[in-house]
């Protein structure tokens, strides 16, 4: 009833092809951004910002990165955590070598290092596909993690063998390190994630995104239509790794405040792959949903148990969390194999015709 486009006429091609063609969508988006930028930092507790919002945003960005590669270009990658690590270590090296430059610039710049490494490891993608490519990217994951552990130069020979995030300021505010307030860190993370999500949305709706999808759907046909496979696939690897790299830098600098190389292990790669699959392959919106679902669900279950003062020992609770989250993932995939994004699309379609579906 409320969600329908009756009376909204489109008078030109641009309006017809808009990412959000329906006015209600645009209002909804504005509302969400308002809540995210104003309400959440103003009224959210430290726990909400630090444990729920910042990690979800970081994972959402990494998920977008992997989605660009796996969902849009059809190239399966298991090296996500490795590429995130490249971003994190690059950002650490850059900011310790040039402490005068704003940390936000270095976070974004570290994405380019990650992109270069990602493109290099993407080279085999021209010759191998599917599971075989997954194995090649797995090699990237192991190689990169080996580098993080073995090359002490990357962590400036710290005795703790970990990245120690130094204090940095932006416009007079402390933005990294233990003294930075969660609100500031949240807002910076949010701003970067929103901006990059907007860029990603534009990429996938434009020429580059269409060439990626053409390659995904059938690479021989795409080649016959004049899409050069190597540059297209390498670009997908580079852009995807850029997003992962920025996500990794955000993770260490605005969420953890320090990280051992262990953080960028294969299990993290799988976690992000699950987020992509649960959220929906080939969907930016789905990336946010998938990240939120996988990351927030266990925390919500934990606070649910705490709220009811359930006398469950923490270890049992942990096992329960695993079981419930696992069961819910299976249920979701049976109900909607195309992920939360497809579920959302169906819901929207139903809403448009509600309450008279025929």
């Amino acid at each position: 009833m409320f969600y329908r486009e009756a009376g909204q006429f489109k008078t030109d091609y641009a309006a017809d092809m808009a990412v959000f063609p329906i006015r209600q969508d645009r209002i909804g988006l504005a509302l969400i951004l308002f809540v995210a930028f104003v309400i959440v930092p103003a009224f959210g507790s430290d726990f909400l910002l630090q444990v729920v919002m910042i990690p979800t945003l970081v994972f959402a960005l990494a998920t977008i990165g992997l989605n660009l590669l796996t969902g849009y270009t059809g190239l399966l990658s298991l090296g996500t955590a490795g590429f995130m690590g490249v971003g994190a270590f690059a950002c650490y090296k850059l900011t310790t070598l040039f402490p005068g430059v704003s940390i936000v610039i270095w976070v974004l710049a570290s994405g380019f290092f990650s992109a270069a490494i990602g493109a290099a490891f993407g080279l085999p993608s021209l010759r191998i596909k599917g599971f075989y490519l997954a194995v090649a990217t797995l090699a990237a994951q192991f190689f990169l993690q080996w580098c993080f552990v073995r090359i002490p130069w990357l962590i400036n020979y710290n005795v703790s063998n970990a990245i120690e995030v130094p204090e940095r300021t932006l416009l007079g505010l402390i933005v990294t390190g233990p003294k930075a307030s969660p609100e500031v860190r949240y807002l910076i993370t949010l701003a970067i994630v929103v901006a990059l999500a907007w860029v990603a949305s534009n990429i996938v709706h434009g020429r580059i995104g269409r060439s990626w999808m053409a390659v995904r759907d059938m690479d021989i046909a795409a080649e016959l239509m004049g899409i050069r496979l190597l540059p297209t696939k390498l670009l997908a690897f580079a852009v995807s790794s850029f997003y992962c790299g920025v996500a990794g830098a955000l993770m260490v600098f605005f969420w953890f405040g320090g990280a051992e190389p262990d953080v960028f292990s294969i299990s993290q790669s799988f976690l992000i792959l699950f987020m992509v699959i649960i959220g929906g392959l080939g969907s930016i919106v789905g990336s946010f949903m998938g990240a939120a679902f996988i990351y927030i669900l266990p925390i919500a279950l934990g606070s649910l148990a705490a709220a009811f003062n359930a006398p469950i020992p923490p270890a049992t609770l942990e096992h329960l969390r695993y079981m419930i989250v696992g069961a819910m993932i299976i249920v979701f995939l049976i109900v909607e194999p195309h992920g939360l994004a497809a579920l959302w699309r169906t819901t929207k379609q139903k809403l448009r015709t509600w309450p008279f579906p025929y």
């Binding site: 969400i32 959210g44 005795v159 130094p166 953890f256 320090g258 919500a300 709220a307 942990e318």
Partner: protein, 440 residues
């Protein structure tokens, strides 16, 4: 981007639930316990968790807490995972905790910078950042009773006597098998220095956290290199696997010395062949202490413990008890200094700094002879206590040496350098402003 709506709804739900949690009573002291009973490190984590919890529960049951104030204990499952550890920390931060015990080097490193800002001291008992022993640089971090560098210097002294003098080690080979993370890598610079000074060859056998249960490659190399001694710094599944592999290749167990982390279960699982395996330790094992009997009476026999009765008093359980003693002493010292009953994190920091676990005090709390005395100060947050070597007899640990003092001549310059380096690299690391209390 409609998704954010559902996200915010979920978040609001979670936040609402978080806020609905009951507020803590004002006449309690909140002691969060970061534990792990799940994951690849659970084998070591469970006895530690139970030891800590049971001793503190016993204080609640027997004495009504510390100084008449009940302790509110809350376990948070970290799974030895840094992400979950940070989550635990954020969830307990607002409840006025008096200290944190991270039980993971990774989580400790996260909490060290936060400790001073949030005014919550970190007690990382013989793990974490060794440099934190310097109280003037790290007023909020405590890592008694010894550091990993102390541990290595003790092991070297022991190996030296086994070989018949340090000079006899010249030209020998010593192997080092370790968890390939901050914890295992920390002693390497000191090890290399020893190798240079004494003139032995050092062989490194790193084990990644993901390959802990499969060490055949490392032990194949051990068999090839035939080191005269093996030193191990492991945790979780690394320890039992390493001992099993050592038995399998027939490595002489009496030449295999570990830092203080392997427990009975780790050695027992390797069977008869593990006899002679040695580790460092600084406290007694067993239940023959009045306080341990109280734990048994008030907690274990009362059915309030999760720990199997037949394993009561084993090594890592006793290690957990030792940690709990430090927690309790920190709190009771804080009560003594401030005169307050319900103490805060800031008070307990002062309490830990004035820790004086003397023979008399140990006797008073029913643990005479359980461990050597420990005294901390504002400058020294560690104590650098001696540790003895114990041998696995096939069924139990047997103390085989007197306590060996660490070689402070080599450890102190390393600590000073590391503390200075840490403060320099973390721009904005605060100078100590916390006033040092006069010894009470």
């Amino acid at each position: 981007m409609k998704h954010l709506k559902s996200l915010t709804a979920g978040v609001a739900l979670a936040a609402g639930l978080g806020a609905a949690a009951p507020a803590f009573a004002a006449d309690e002291i909140f002691v969060p316990l970061f534990t792990y009973r799940t994951g690849p490190f659970a084998g070591s984590g469970v006895p530690i968790a139970d030891g800590m919890k049971d001793y503190l529960t016993m204080l609640n049951e027997r004495d009504g807490g510390i100084g008449g104030v009940k302790l509110k204990l809350e376990e948070c499952e970290t799974g030895y995972d840094t992400k979950k550890g940070v989550e635990c920390y954020e969830s307990i931060k607002g409840k006025n905790p008096v200290m944190t015990n991270p039980w993971s080097t990774g989580i400790t490193l996260q909490l060290i910078p936060k400790a001073g800002v949030d005014k919550i001291p970190v007690l990382s008992m013989a793990y974490g950042l060794s440099a934190a022993a310097r109280g003037d640089t790290f007023p909020w971090v405590f890592n008694p009773p010894n550091t990993y560098w102390d541990g290595l210097s003790i092991i070297m002294k022991y190996i030296g006597t086994q070989a018949g003098g340090m000079d006899k080690l010249k030209g020998k080979t010593i192997g080092y098998i370790y968890l390939d993370a901050g914890f295992g890598k920390e002693p390497i610079p000191l090890f290399e220095q020893y190798a240079k000074d004494v003139g032995f060859t050092l062989k490194l056998y790193p084990v990644g956290a993901t390959e802990m249960q499969n060490q055949s490659a490392q032990w194949l190399n051990v068999r090839r290199d035939k080191p005269d001694f093996m030193v191990m710094y492991g945790w979780g599944a690394l320890n039992p696997t390493a001992i099993k592999e050592a038995v399998k290749i027939g490595y002489p167990m009496d030449k295999f010395v570990s830092i203080w982390w392997p427990g009975e279960d780790d050695a027992r699982s390797a069977g008869e062949g593990a006899k002679g395996f040695k580790t460092l330790n600084w406290h007694a094992v067993g239940a023959d202490f009045p306080a341990m009997q109280d734990v048994k009476k008030y907690v274990v026999d009362a059915g309030k413990s999760l720990y199997p009765k037949e394993k009561f008093g084993e090594l890592l359980y006793a290690r957990g008890v030792y940690n709990a003693i430090l927690i309790a002493e920190g709190i009771s010292q804080a009560q003594k200094i401030t005169g307050k009953k319900v103490v805060t994190g800031e008070d307990v920091r002062r309490g830990l700094e004035q820790m004086d676990l003397s023979e008399a005090r140990l006797k008073e709390i029913g643990l005479a002879g359980f461990t050597a005395p420990l005294k901390l100060s504002c400058a020294d947050h560690n104590g650098h206590r001696a540790a003895f070597v114990q041998e696995w007899t096939g069924t139990a640990w047997k103390k085989v040496t007197d306590p060996i003092e660490p070689n402070l001549q080599v450890v102190t310059p390393l600590l000073d350098g590391a503390a200075k380096d840490y403060a320099e690299k973390n721009t904005g690391w605060p100078k100590r402003t916390e006033v040092c209390d006069k010894a009470s």
